[in-house]
């Protein structure tokens, strides 16, 4: 389009604005100010002059081409639909294994393991900390928020009847011992590690500020880069911080800043090349309520990451420049009031994720506001994904909203906001060092959002408006299974009774020495797992070697 064309459009827009002003003399708009949930100002209508500064080939391009604004696969979902990845993990390995088999028979293509070693109030965000299931600190926690797996026999039972070479598994717990247990399982089954596909979180959020925690995060990534060529070495879960109240641009900035921090450390401390591990880094994003903003967010994030990896790290392999991401919808947007409305909420959030080009998706089940979702509600949320895939036609065209004046403008605006936030993080020395400041920013965004709901500036159906006929959840809710803890403790006892005590003690001593050394810890953790040392016992060895403070991040996000 020529300058002359833009001048004519701008002139027409000026006339349009005058007409609207006149119209508004006798009519009132519903809101005094129009902004997205993240506070980005919205125009009444967008036109070509709003995206005048965009160079189509340089900034948008085609799918599969740098800077990947329109997605990384040349034909989008046509050859490669997103993976339906419901998040499962509850009770013990036996119950979760059963639920997995049911899901696989219903068409699930990827498994997400929400499974942890026994944890206490330090919770899922605290570095390597874990306990034995019979420890005082885990009373009331076992098998509730995630499944408990603590020994190799637990892992064997968990994957009974599941082919490790065929399954794509996402292991959500971040402790290095979880990865070690999975690798020990693969070794015992004689599976070639080169064939393993999936990902492990590895980092709790970004790199830890606890020395041992950080060392194990980097050791694990190094080990996987060198031994598991098809494995994704980490997932940065800025997503949870969005669910915890940060804005869309902050979500991008924090996620990418975690990636930058980690890439720098892998290069400087492990001597790896960006093109060795770049293609193996993954991200997790949220899908919140505001549809247009979310679609723009995914596009902006992809473009930014491609440029960062290329310009900042000099990556030559196009696969390194690709921002691959999993999306989990925003559980915090689901309500207890009129809970069936949640099915509609996640459908729209899911559509935003798909039109934004997600590689895999989990939609929060409708009973998420109450407790760990039931098998029934999980099935419903999975059906929503299948309905989106097969009934709406939304995956037939690549980046169908690309080129919309509004979407391109929002993509640009979100990118600018995210860049500002990233610059602030960078000024403070990167994500890990800036974490305390970032947490403060997230808290103030969250508080602002809650105040908007309190003041009805933001309407939540069934909560602060349209509350007539409120009803509570009409189906069975999953309750905590009190027998799980007992069952798990007896599983642990059996393992301890059946193993060779003398050998176990020798292994523990060897492990303590390994924790004290600077060698890569992974082979030792795998060996310990194969000697049936529990996750809690492995952690005791770690504590004996390096002390408590080193094992977790002093400053940590609380999603």
């Amino acid at each position: 389009m020529s300058n002359k064309d833009f001048d004519a459009i701008k002139e027409a827009e000026r006339r349009y604005d005058e007409e609207v002003s006149e119209f508004l003399e006798t009519h009132k708009e519903l809101q005094p100010d129009y902004r997205t949930i993240s506070g980005i100002p919205l125009k009444r209508v967008y036109n070509p002059s709003d995206i005048e500064s965009i160079d189509y080939l340089k900034d948008i391009g085609f799918p599969g081409q740098y800077p990947y604004t329109r997605g990384f696969y040349p034909d989008g979902y046509r050859t490669r639909p997103w993976k339906v990845q419901p998040l499962i993990g509850f009770d013990t390995c036996e119950e979760t294994n059963q639920r997995w088999h049911n899901l696989i028979s219903q068409g699930v293509t990827g498994l997400v393991l929400d499974g942890f070693p026994p944890m206490s109030c330090e919770g899922g965000d605290r570095g390597q900390e874990c306990y034995n299931s019979d420890d005082e600190r885990v009373e009331g926690y076992i098998g509730h928020c995630g499944l408990v797996v603590e020994t190799l026999p637990d892992w064997k039972r968990l994957f009974e009847g599941i082919d490790l070479e065929k399954v794509n598994i996402s292991i959500l717990a971040h402790q290095s011992v979880q990865m070690a247990m999975y690798l020990a399982l693969a070794e015992e089954r004689g599976v070639d590690k080169k064939k393993l596909r999936g990902t492990h979180e590895t980092v709790t959020y970004g790199l830890s500020d606890g020395s041992e925690d950080r060392r194990e995060q980097l050791d694990e990534m190094e080990y996987c880069v060198k031994n598991l060529p098809r494995w994704n070495i980490t997932t940065f879960k800025g997503r949870n911080l969005r669910d915890g109240g940060c804005t869309a641009p902050q979500e991008i900035a924090i996620n990418l800043a975690m990636g930058i921090d980690t890439a720098r450390a892998l290069i400087a401390e492990k001597g790896l090349d960006i093109d060795e591990f770049g293609p193996r880094m993954g991200f997790m994003f949220c899908a919140h309520n505001e549809f247009l903003e979310e679609v723009a967010k995914f596009r902006a994030a992809r473009r930014m990451w491609a440029r960062i990896v290329k310009d900042l790290f000099g990556a030559k392999n196009p696969r390194s420049q690709i921002l691959r991401f999993h999306v989990q919808s925003a559980g915090s947007t689901l309500t207890r009031e009129q809970p069936l409305n949640n099915v509609a909420r996640v459908a729209i959030q899911g559509l935003a994720a798909i039109l934004g080009g997600a590689q895999s998706l989990h939609l929060c089940p409708m009973d998420e506001g109450y407790t760990i979702p039931s098998e029934f509600s999980t099935l419903v949320s999975m059906r929503v994904q299948q309905l989106l895939a097969h009934e709406t036609g939304c995956m037939n065209v690549c980046d169908p909203l690309g080129g919309s004046y509004c979407i391109e403008s929002l993509t640009m605006q979100i990118e600018e906001e995210a860049q500002k936030f990233m610059d602030e993080i960078e000024k403070r020395g990167g994500e890990c060092k800036a974490r305390e400041w970032i947490i403060g920013e997230i808290c103030s965004s969250a508080y602002k959002y809650q105040k908007q709901i309190s003041s009805k500036e933001r309407i939540v159906v069934g909560v602060n408006e349209f509350t007539e006929g409120n009803y509570s959840y009409p189906f069975d809710l999953r309750d905590y299974n009190l027998s799980t803890a007992e069952k798990q403790m007896s599983r642990l006892n059996n393992v301890r009774n059946e193993r060779d005590d003398a050998k176990a003690e020798v292994m523990k001593k060897k492990l303590i020495e390994a924790f004290k050394s600077k060698e890569n810890i992974m082979p030792y953790l795998i060996e310990a797992a194969r000697a049936h040392i529990s996750a809690g016992e492995i952690h005791q060895c770690r504590l004996a070697a390096v002390g408590k403070e080193a094992c977790y991040s002093r400053v940590c996000y609380e999603h």
Binding site: C121, G369, A446, Y447, I453, D479, E558, H559
Partner: protein
């Protein structure tokens, strides 16, 4: 005089509510002591040490009746069971009654309004001033 409330949580995650409510209460003049994540034994000892008027226990990841029963038991053992307990978080409807039977004064499940929580605590401060508790 403002009341002193101990804010404790069962896990580090899912803490948007924990922090926003704490901020809202401070804005309303309530003195909030952030205990962070603690197991019941630690909550009881902080509550006694800090001489609080109320324990606010947020539970999102664990089993509320199990944790709260333990807390009540530990408080009793230390002759501190006069400190009232308020529980918030992922509480099933049927657990609300269970918790009150265990001795919890009030329950605020996920999704309740920030205003309802703030009003409750401010109201509690008023009662304290009257000396009726």
């Amino acid at each position: 005089m403002a009341i002193r409330v101990l804010f404790s949580a069962d896990e580090t995650g899912h803490s948007m509510g924990y922090h926003t409510i704490a901020t809202a209460l401070r804005d309303a003049g309530v003195e909030v002591i952030l205990g962070g994540t603690q197991i019941p034994r630690e909550i009881a000892s902080t509550a006694i040490q800090e001489d609080v008027n109320l324990i606010a226990y947020r539970i999102m990841g664990a089993h509320p009746p199990t944790l709260v029963s333990r807390l009540v038991k530990v408080l009793e053992e230390q002759d501190a069971n006069n400190i009232p307990i308020v529980v918030g978080g992922a509480i099933l409807p049927k657990q609300e009654g269970q918790l009150k039977e265990i001795g919890v004064m009030e329950v605020f499940p996920v999704g309740c309004s920030m205003k309802a929580v703030v009003d409750y605590f401010v109201g509690f401060s008023e009662i304290q001033k009257d000396g009726s508790i």
